[in-house]
């Protein structure tokens, strides 16, 4: 479990993370989304204790991570930027980390195997491709079988096989009861892997929701209704929690209710309906809308 409360980090004049609070629960994969510069990587660095927050707290599995007696049992992290020594082999890189927690050579070989690095384990990491480097970074994060796993852009540079490996890996880690926080630019990938979402914009929390709720409440998820009586039907459907948008044609975009309920309501009111189509926004569309909202929100527009 990761608990973040009132986290703020400034670099000079720039506020990278601004009063951020959210909780990442164990047992599910939580996606960490936000446009570039939203503060995802900074937040992850603060989770690992690499950057000190200006204010606020981070707790990993209920503890202040830098004071944890067995850090590798608590947290495994893959950072966005490379963090391996190019002059050392993959095995030496992992072994050096493993030694700090008394982790055996056998476990090192195990994660090398798991990450598909067995053939290159003895070669210097400096010659690795981006994908190989990512596999090595993920192997390092898994070394201690940590209770919480934080991965920044793990599928970056991976081939389709590697992408599928990460997807299965994240799900199995969550199924074991571990806490999994993962960021990605690939929304389609996130939609397949994550069940919970934390979305940042400009260092602030935009939303914290399940993927299902997040997509359901995006414009574009709802029902498309074609009727010769758009105004009357619109008035009929209007209720708290239901949004009706009419662009002046015979089309209504209704969200917050179902096609069945709209059809029944129209029938009761004797209003003709020519078309009734449920529509779904993709995670990407939902993300674009929500991050756009945050920018308007910061500009002072009321919504």
């Amino acid at each position: 479990m990761i608990e973040i409360d009132g986290l703020t980090k400034r670099y000079g004049d720039k506020t990278a993370v601004d009063g951020l609070s959210f909780v990442v629960e164990p047992g599910v994969v939580t996606g960490f989304l936000g446009p570039n510069g939203a503060g995802k990587s900074t937040t992850m660095r603060m989770i690992a204790g690499l950057d000190r927050p200006d204010s606020g707290t981070v707790r990993v599995n209920g503890k202040h991570y830098p004071k944890a007696p067995a850090p590798m049992a608590e947290l495994g992290i893959l950072l966005d930027a490379r963090s391996v020594h190019p002059g050392l082999s993959a095995r030496s890189n992992l072994l050096a980390l493993a030694r700090t927690a008394g982790i055996s050579r056998r476990r090192v070989d195990e994660v090398i195997e798991l990450a598909g690095l067995a053939e290159v384990a003895g070669t210097r990491a400096g010659g690795f491709s981006l994908g190989m480097g990512q596999r090595l970074g993920v192997a390092a994060a898994l070394l201690g079988q940590p209770q919480t796993v934080v991965l920044d852009e793990p599928v970056n540079g991976l081939d389709p096989d590697g992408v599928r490996w990460i997807r299965e890996l994240l799900k199995s880690l969550a199924a074991e009861g571990r806490t999994v926080l993962v960021s990605s630019h690939l929304m389609s990938e996130m939609a397949q892997t994550a069940t919970q979402l934390v979305v940042l914009g400009r260092g602030k929390l935009i939303t914290e929701a399940s993927v299902e709720d997040f997509v359901d409440h995006a414009t574009g998820t709802g029902v498309l209704v074609r009727t010769p009586e758009p105004v009357r039907l619109g008035q009929l459907l209007a209720a708290p929690g239901i949004t009706v948008i009419n662009d002046g044609t015979d089309l209504l975009r209704v969200s917050g209710t179902t096609a069945e309920q709209i059809g029944a309501a129209a029938w009761r009111a004797h209003l003709p309906v020519y078309e009734l189509t449920p529509t779904h926004a993709s995670l990407e569309e939902a993300f674009m809308q929500v991050t756009q909202d945050s920018i308007e929100y910061h500009a002072g527009a009321t919504r």
Binding site: A48, S83, P86, L88, R99, R107, G144, P146, R303
Partner: protein, 289 residues
Amino acid sequence: MSAMTRPGLTPAQGAPAPAPMTPAPIAPVTVAGPVTQARVVRAEWTKLRALRSTRWCTLITVALIVGVGALVAGSGTVYRVSAGNSAAAGISGALLGVLIAQLVLGVVAVLAFSGEYGTGMIRATLAVVPARLPVLWAKLIVLAGLVLPVTMLCAFVDFFAATAIESARGGSAITLTDPGVLRTVVGSSLYLTVVVIIGLALGALLRKTAAGLSAFAAVFFVIPIVVGTLPHNITGFAPYLPSNAGGDLWGLSMTSAHALSPWTGFAVLCGYAVVLTAAAAWRLRRRDA
């Protein structure tokens, strides 16, 4: 969870997250034990030993100390102990290679930290040892643990080789029991060990390899030479420069006036190491990685 802003999302306010599809989480297993200083030392030894630069620099150091010593003993005028030429000074001359070896070892020492900052490995290192200071102590122990025995061995090999060559050429037979000789031989190794600690601290403080190496070369090579060329009335501080103060212990100080006794000079050198290491520790703990 209740005080969060969720513009664009109305429902589920304050409600718990939907139940995961997986069975109730059980406590996950782990293979990681607690971080101890001894374990961090092993980790740092793993890195140092596996790096090619360590092996090369160690070999070069051995070649420099022993090779230059044999060269000095085997060429030029034969050394004879007299009132003006002490036995210890003769051995200091045979240890001339130490002056160059200190630069080679300085590179290893500076790189111990700056190399990790340069490659990004420091993030992985500090993420698994978030208390941070054990990493500094471990690097210090590992480097000193490598440099002290290696250079000590080199210094003794150099002593025996140089004295054998000298006496074969008809020079004075200098022994370890002659005044100041043992101190000179042991002192050259102690000097190099403390110099390496200073290099390590400079690497941790400055973080950039270029900056660390420049600072190291300036302190142990450039400044003492420049100060040596200045008029004596403005260089009263010269004996207190790290290289000169440390040089007093093993007899090669670049000041004409030996203001400090051997062990006082060494204490001054150690003082620099302590202050720089403390500054490095402070910076490591306080600053973002």
